[in-house]
């Protein structure tokens, strides 16, 4: 490579961002990179809506009395916080933004297999999102994000049907994303990109897609049944007519437990990329990490009834589901151990993405281990429907999934935007998020263990100290989430132009321009190396002249 090509060109090259301008060029694009950015805008919008509900919940819980809102409004607040965050932020977050952007780049393809279906998927998401917004603005819904019957079908007087249909529509967007990924990974890999050379990010997205494809249709039909039952009084879930409410819970959790892995698996894929890059080492036990993703997807479908231990299922079923839930811990632990082993004797760099990865490791481990507490029948009976459960799943879904998402956004931001973000601010934000998160949710473990139930808007005064800590932490966490948004936007205009490979990282996505051209690569790449060949990269360190992010 000559010096001229290594330096930053003064005239901007043609890329996917500057090739076309105008609203139409975005709304009718079939470029996976542009659709990723459309998704980025939309999920960020819903993240802040969901965050706004969380803020109101934490403000209400600042004092033991029900002073800010009354019971009915509080029920709506936690319901809509859950629905928006789960179905309109967490599920699409990493796959639809980073996955959409990176899957074709990482395997050396020009686009996803079905670009128009990719765009359709975004429109379905938007239609579902608008329905959800309309539902929220015209009265909201109060069933909890779980839609439990017969409350949702017979008793709730809120907009259950509309919320259910919004999630039904958004579900198809998730199915189509998964379908696109599976076909793309099977059929569009560049020459030489064998399955054993795929980045672990791709393996994680493949596993995620399997869950999206097999799980989402089941919740779709379940929501259809709930809506039909509510509108037409069918009796399928109504105990008065001989219907079985437990059947609803089985169908609901058949999707909604694996859905947790839709949130965490892509995040694990990101962590594998970041830890290998910032330890300057090939990932330890590549095939174990790859197949543990598949194992999590498969086992994930066999554990749903651990949400129902106190709902009246048989003792023997509970025993089996408890045992199977323990089994999911095995592939998860394999990943954590392999990431740790990768760092062992590596040359570790403490850049912002790596800080998020560290945060992920700690928080996911706490979330995962408390998951084992909950999988144990005896402890689960004690802490069911308490803040212990709330703290546990926020450690996984926020501490795990969102940490990975933010880490990934920092890692690939130079590729996405063609600009470098301010490293100092990014490190500060990572620290604030970590501190704010723990201050918010660790007290909730204790609260739950000493008996504070979830979904209550009042509580005895002795719980107040821990609740004040939690609310204070949530404020800090909010600042930590706003900061990256501010400096990412800032960097799009004022950030230093990014070189093609600012981290000297392995992976095809770093071998094309930043930002990439519309068809990703000027020449079709041919892969002749193993994934994470950091041994080779380290022998040819980045030249001094090239501005590097760190």
């Amino acid at each position: 490579m000559s010096m001229a090509t290594a330096s930053i060109p003064t005239v901007e090259r043609e890329n996917y961002l500057n090739k076309h301008y105008g609203v139409g060029s975005w709304l009718f694009t079939t470029d996976h990179k542009r659709i990723a950015l459309l998704y980025l805008l939309s999920i960020t919008f819903f993240f802040f809506i969901g965050g706004f509900f969380a803020l109101l919940i934490r403000l209400e819980l600042l004092t033991p009395a029900g002073d800010l809102v009354q019971a009915d409004s509080y029920n709506k607040l936690f319901t809509m916080h859950g629905m928006v965050m789960v179905f309109f932020f967490l599920i699409p977050s990493i796959p639809a933004v980073l996955g959409n952007f990176l899957v074709p780049l990482m395997i050396g393809a020009k686009d996803l297999a079905f670009p128009k279906i990719n765009l359709l998927s975004w429109y379905l998401y938007i239609i579902g999102g608008v329905m959800m917004l309309h539902c929220m603005l015209t009265g909201g819904v109060d069933t909890g994000w779980t839609f439990y019957v017969p409350f949702s079908t017979a008793f709730s007087n809120t907009k259950v049907v509309e919320a259910g249909l919004a999630i039904f529509v958004a579900g198809f967007s998730s199915i189509l994303t998964g379908l696109n990924f599976v076909v793309t990974i099977h059929r569009l890999r560049a020459p030489g990109m064998s399955w054993s050379r795929l980045p672990l990010f791709i393996w994680a997205h493949y596993a995620t897609s399997i869950i999206q494809l097999l799980g989402t249709p089941v919740i779709a039909i379940t929501l259809v049944l709930v809506a039909a039952e509510r509108a037409l009084h069918l009796g399928i879930f109504d105990p008065k007519l001989g219907g079985d409410p437990l059947l609803f819970q089985h169908l609901f959790w058949f999707y909604s437990h694996p859905a947790v892995y839709i949130m965490i698996l892509p995040s694990m894929g990101i962590i594998s990329e970041i830890i290998a890059c910032f330890s300057r080492k090939r990932i330890f036990g590549y095939s174990f990490v790859a197949f543990s993703s598949i194992a999590i997807a498969v086992f994930g479908f066999l554990v749903w009834a651990h949400h129902m231990f106190v709902a009246g299922i048989s003792v023997y079923a509970a025993l089996v589901f408890s045992l199977l839930s323990y089994l999911v811990a095995v592939p998860s632990a394999v990943k954590v151990f392999n990431w740790t082993a990768t760092m062992y004797k590596g040359s570790i760099y403490y850049d912002a993405p790596m800080l998020y990865a560290f945060g992920f490791l700690g928080l996911f481990t706490v979330g995962g281990l408390t998951g084992l507490f909950l999988a144990a029948l005896g402890i689960d009976v004690h802490v069911t429907d308490t803040y212990f459960v709330i703290a546990h799943f926020h450690y996984i879904m926020v501490g795990g999934a969102v940490m990975g998402y933010l880490g990934g956004m920092h890692f690939w931001w130079p590729k996405i935007s063609g600009r470098l973000y301010p490293e100092g601010w990014a490190k500060l934000a990572a620290l604030i998020v970590f501190i704010g998160f723990n201050l918010t949710f660790f007290p909730q473990f204790i609260l739950g263990y000493i008996g504070m139930p979830r979904r209550y808007y009042q509580y005895p005064p002795e719980f107040q100290v821990l609740n004040v800590l939690s609310t204070a932490g949530a404020t800090i966490l909010g600042v930590g989430y706003l900061l990256p948004m501010v400096y990412f936007l800032w960097s799009m205009r004022y950030g230093k132009p990014a070189p093609d490979n600012p981290w000297n990282a392995a992976g095809l996505e770093w071998k094309t321009a930043s930002p990439p051209p519309t068809f990703n690569f000027d020449e079709e790449p041919v892969v002749t190396w193993e994934a994470y060949n950091y041994d080779e990269l380290n022998r040819f360190p980045v030249k001094e002249e090239t501005p590097v992010a760190r």
Binding site: D111, G235, I236
Partner: protein, 231 residues
């Protein structure tokens, strides 16, 4: 441009992000099969629900099932199996470049699909007349349980049967309507001569979808109509 330069890159049906027509066909085929996999899970939730209540309310469901018109159901089964044959012939005609045979079979499929929906409509009308539609006006009194002449079926449990009957056959009919839409589009494309022995992927994929919808009915028919028929 001489014919020799007309390579795969100039194939008008080849999209830019595929290297060759074979890769594009493989992607479409895998995509369709994966989609049908999600459809199985979609209907799977209903089959699972069916299983739970069939086990729980065995006699009541037998009594409810016996009120369905097995002749109309069997006729519809025959109609759908015939339509699967015309679909296979259409795919074969497309692959071998027989345009008129292709159009004829697509039209035949459309006629058979519409006939199915018509017969289904007659059955639905009958349900309304007999007050077998779940809801406020549902009636199922004094119906004896087959094999137990001294016992009457529980109307609530029979209502769940009819609820599932309508959801399952309704969802199936919705898929038929989508299928008819796809086949109208295929007929128009075939009329314009878009399908050749080299490029006929849409016919094949539409055919896969049609067969899938048929197979769903092949399961629905015995589960809904035939569970308690004795000579």
């Amino acid at each position: 441009m001489p014919d020799s330069q007309l390579t795969a890159a100039h194939n008008p049906a080849l999209l830019h992000h595929f290297a060759e027509p074979q890769q594009q066909r493989d992607a479409a085929s895998l995509g369709t099969w994966v989609f049908l996999g999600t459809e199985i899970m979609f209907f799977g939730g209903l089959f699972c629900t069916y299983l739970v209540y069939r086990r729980g309310y065995f006699g009541d469901w037998g009594a409810a099932s016996k009120t369905l018109d097995v002749t109309l159901g069997a006729t519809n089964t025959a109609v759908l199996i015939c339509s699967s044959l015309t679909v296979v012939l259409a795919v074969w005609a497309a692959q071998t470049g027989r345009r008129r045979l292709l159009i004829g079979n697509l039209l035949a499929t459309l006629v058979l699909g519409t006939a199915f929906l018509g017969i289904k409509g007659i059955e639905y009308k009958e349900k309304f007349e007999k007050h077998h539609v779940p809801g406020a006006s549902f009636q199922f009194n004094n119906v004896r349980i087959p094999g137990h002449p001294d016992q009457y079926a529980n109307p609530s449990h029979a209502e769940i049967f009819f609820a599932l009957y309508f959801v399952m056959t309704g969802l199936h009919a919705l898929h038929m309507i989508v299928g008819i839409g796809i086949f109208i589009w295929l007929t128009v494309m075939a009329w314009k001569g878009r399908f050749t022995p080299e490029y006929n992927t849409p016919v094949e994929m539409g055919g896969l979808y049609w067969h899938f919808v048929d197979i769903i009915w092949i399961y629905l028919f015995p589960l809904l109509y035939l569970i308690d028929r004795h000579p």
